[in-house]
């Protein structure tokens, strides 16, 4: 089958690159081997939380020059400060136009999101129903809070969450009341404790009748507080149930992400994918790229597990297969490889001992490994760029997304950059 553009991997980077080339009038197919890192994420997109030397970043635009000095191979450094910021700002509008309800902006500076482990992390764009802290003061915009969780829910408990919130300095323990909600409507789910997870709970609570019982149980508890905080167990298809609940009990409701699966991340993934289909894209989910042919220096076609002998051909290909976690990079006994095309990597020494540092809490060298490109973000073979193989997202090398807190930003910025290049070079 033939398309103008084929994108390999439908994570954040692949979806956004695909949506953008459709917008530019190209035909596009996505091939995706199982759901992406979005399903495991916080549902918030981080742009730049720390510099490599550990300095916290409060405003990314002010930190990009220092980043380029300290990490010249970072995709932001390759693209340059101005282009990175322009693409980041475009990503904000791009995602909102495609139906993601997000708070935050580069102009406003980093917000702080709360992780299920109780730490705070600087972030850029977060679901509008997610709890965020004022970056300047680290405080909550409310005085008295009710932190309520669901009885039997193990992926985020109310006491844990309350003490975490107090520990962040966002508020004081005295100002927090915690409660565990009985919610008999969930009793059928409770019979399987291992399946008592955020997504399953949300799929029950989102029903208007169940939501009404949640409101009825919360309302008396929430009478003298300024806001209610819940684990992200509400709003499977949209954030509408959170807004409805808030109206019903008369105080703002915010959610905190739980341990995976990520309700918000997965919802974002589905919204973007459905939009991709509605815009005319074709998505082959559950299929895996298994082979390819070169045409001189260019990529001619790819083969997949489902399509067997029928190749998928395109003028341009986008490699957005993610990092080790999603299979974009593979580590063998002696080498780290880019899984599909064996593209040149940044910093992948033969010596396995150099891949990790002794403490799991230190930045891990292997996190920098990934595909080497120049500013055009094209994959390279033996130092020569492949003219029509564009690389976006976490499969790229030169940065540690966990240590720097830049995974979502890199995925979005590089996705728009490669899509622009595809659209621009072939006007």
């Amino acid at each position: 089958m033939r398309y103008d553009v084929i994108v390999i991997g439908a994570g954040l980077a692949g979806l956004v690159a695909g949506l953008r080339v459709l917008e530019g009038g190209r035909s596009c197919a996505l091939v995706n081997a199982g759901q992406s890192a979005l399903h495991f994420s916080s549902g918030a997109f981080d742009f730049l939380g720390h510099l490599p030397d550990g300095t916290p970043v409060s405003r990314a635009p002010d930190a990009l020059e220092a980043l380029a000095d300290q990490a010249p191979d970072h995709p932001y450094a390759l693209l340059g400060r101005q282009r990175t910021l322009e693409l980041g700002q475009r990503a904000e509008a791009f995602l909102r136009d495609r139906g993601l309800a997000l708070d935050g902006s580069l102009a406003a500076g980093n917000r702080l999101r709360i992780t299920p482990l109780g730490t705070t992390v600087p972030t850029w764009l977060g679901a509008s129903e997610a709890l965020g802290l004022d970056p300047a003061t680290g405080a909550l915009p409310w005085k008295r809070l009710l932190v309520a969780t669901v009885e039997g829910f193990l992926d985020l408990g109310a006491d844990v969450l309350s003490s975490h919130l107090a520990a962040t300095g966002a508020t004081t323990e005295a100002a927090i009341r915690s409660a565990s909600l009985r919610l008999p409507v969930l009793d059928r789910l409770r019979t399987n404790p291992s399946e008592f997870r955020s997504v399953n709970i949300a799929r029950v609570l989102d029903h208007p009748e169940a939501l009404a019982t949640l409101a009825a149980e919360l309302a008396p508890l929430a009478r003298d507080v300024d806001a209610v905080v819940l684990p992200a167990c509400l709003g499977f298809r949209s954030n509408e149930p959170v807004a409805t609940l808030s109206r019903q009990i008369g105080v703002p409701v915010r959610v905190v992400p739980t341990l995976p699966p990520s309700l918000i991340g997965a919802r974002f993934s589905r919204i973007l994918l459905n939009r991709f289909l509605a815009d005319g894209g074709v998505c082959m989910n559950g299929d895996r790229v298994t082979g390819h042919d070169w045409n001189g220096p260019s990529l001619a076609r790819i083969y997949t597990a489902s399509h067997e002998d029928i190749p998928l051909e395109a003028d341009d290909f986008v490699l957005a297969t993610g990092s080790f976690f999603s299979g974009g990079l593979t580590s063998g006994p002696h080498a780290v490889r880019e899984t599909l095309f064996d593209l040149d990597l940044r910093e992948a020494p033969q010596d396995r001992a150099a891949w990790t540092s002794a403490s799991v809490f230190d930045p891990q060298p292997y996190m920098h490994y990934g595909v080497r490109t120049d500013a055009t973000l094209r994959g390279q073979l033996n130092g020569n760029p492949v003219p029509n193989l564009h690389v976006a997202g976490l499969v790229l090398g030169g940065f540690d997304p966990v240590h720097l807190g830049c995974g979502g930003g890199v995925a979005l910025v590089t996705a728009l950059a490669v899509a622009d290049r595809i659209l621009g070079t072939k006007g």
């Binding site: 089958m1 289909l277 989910n285």
Partner: protein, 403 residues
């Protein structure tokens, strides 16, 4: 067990993504979902089959869990194998009737079909069927044809089809044969326009999908042996490709025969494929037909088994060739019917709950027609929305004929 080794259940990371994409566990809290019913349950069942949980009967074998799994676990296969090996409960007569599609079709698709169809549509008859057999009375039954496709083909088409230099064989499936021979004729129109004649297989039985779902594994095996012999003959002896219009029959022949029935089908598998995929091959080989514009809007629904095959692109690309036609692809979600599942009284509500948001989208789409490669989706969509639903080949044939 050799078959289970191929399901990859050891690769499960317990991430719960499969459950998130399972339409049944969303609509019916009694079903614990694919992670629990599949790899988790399998660990226990391997210790002792008595750990088998009867809630597994709720699984529709839609395989959306497999499509979503990041670790390549064949969760649907695990569940179907467990149901067929561990569940020893009695099978109701109703399940026999619903699953033996060729037996029932053979008795119904004849000159008396108009009478049978009218009877089956009468509310009192439906009530009786519900109270005696447990067939959902609210469901509209597919109607039977006066004459089977095979009978029509033998009388009206065989001789002319043999005149084409290039030939393919058609696995028409029960639906074309008993319910909608017109689709079979449309398939002939399309292939003939591309210069290809159509033969039928020596013998064709129901592919076995409803039998596997109703735990009639022996009967499924018996059918599969007959089909495998016919397919082998067509492919290996006559050198033909075999085209299959329905996505579920295609998936069953190509994937369930080896994965569930443990058959070696490597000799014919590569030459047996979905009709629209074969049409893609013909097009790539330079065969084109003159198409007339169809000035209308359609929405394409990707059936669950089409999603699993990964081949929706062939059908979408096919209808996008039709001039004047506006094609919008619906979100990837289940319509709720899942073959014979939604016909069972106890599943009716779950079935309609699963499909509800899809029906809303279809109603709101402003489309003139829904297009889908699966006949049971067609029944569900036509019963639950105000729109008609047709196979892509029907639409393509219409464009070839010019209206």
């Amino acid at each position: 067990m050799s078959v289970l080794d191929d399901t990859g259940f050891e690769a499960c990371t317990k991430c719960t993504i499969c459950t998130e994409y399972c339409p049944v566990s969303e609509a019916n809290p009694d079903f614990p979902g694919p992670k629990h019913a599949g790899p988790d349950g399998e660990r226990l069942r391997l210790k002792d089959p008595a750990f088998y949980d009867s809630a597994l009967r709720h699984c529709t074998n839609c395989k959306r869990c497999e499509v979503a799994c990041p670790s390549g676990v064949k969760i649907g296969d695990i569940i179907q194998l467990a149901r067929n090996t561990c569940d020893t409960s009695r099978r109701p007569v109703r399940d026999f009737i619903l699953s033996h599609t060729d037996l029932v079709g053979g008795l119904s698709a004849n000159r008396l079909a108009p009478v049978t169809n009218a009877l089956a549509a009468l509310p009192p008859v439906k009530k009786i069927l519900e109270s005696t057999l447990g067939i959902a009375s609210k469901r509209r039954f597919p109607s039977y044809a006066r004459q089977t496709f095979r009978a029509w083909y033998g009388k009206e088409a065989a001789a002319a089809q043999a005149l084409f230099k290039d030939q393919v064989a058609l696995f028409h499936g029960c639906y074309v044969n008993y319910n909608n021979p017109a689709l079979g004729q449309d398939i002939l129109t399309v292939l003939n326009a591309l210069g290809v004649g159509v033969q039928l297989l020596e013998d064709e039985q129901c592919c076995g999908a409803p039998l596997i779902a109703a735990r009639f594994l022996d009967k499924a095996r018996a059918n599969a042996r007959i089909n495998a012999a016919s397919l082998h003959e067509a492919v290996a002896e006559k050198g033909l490709s075999v085209v299959v219009p329905a996505s579920t029959c295609t998936l069953t022949l190509r994937n369930e025969y080896p994965d569930i029935l443990d058959m070696d089908i490597s000799r014919w598998r590569p030459r047996v494929e979905l009709l629209t995929r074969h049409l893609h091959r013909l097009r790539t080989a330079g065969r084109t037909a003159t198409l007339h514009p169809l000035n209308m809007k359609v929405v394409y629904h990707t059936a669950c088994h089409m999603e699993r095959l990964g081949w929706a692109g062939y059908s979408i690309d096919l209808i996008r060739q039709i001039p004047g036609l506006e094609v919008v692809v619906l979100p990837q979600q289940c319509c709720g019917i899942a073959g014979t599942y939604g016909f069972r009284k106890e599943n009716y509500d779950t079935s309609q709950t699963i499909g509800a948001s899809l029906f809303e989208l279809i109603e709101a789409s402003g489309a003139d027609l829904v297009v889908c490669d699966c006949e049971t989706c067609k029944w569900q969509i036509e019963m639950s929305t105000s729109k008609k639903c047709e196979h892509p080949a029907t639409l393509f044939a219409r464009s070839i004929r010019g209206g």
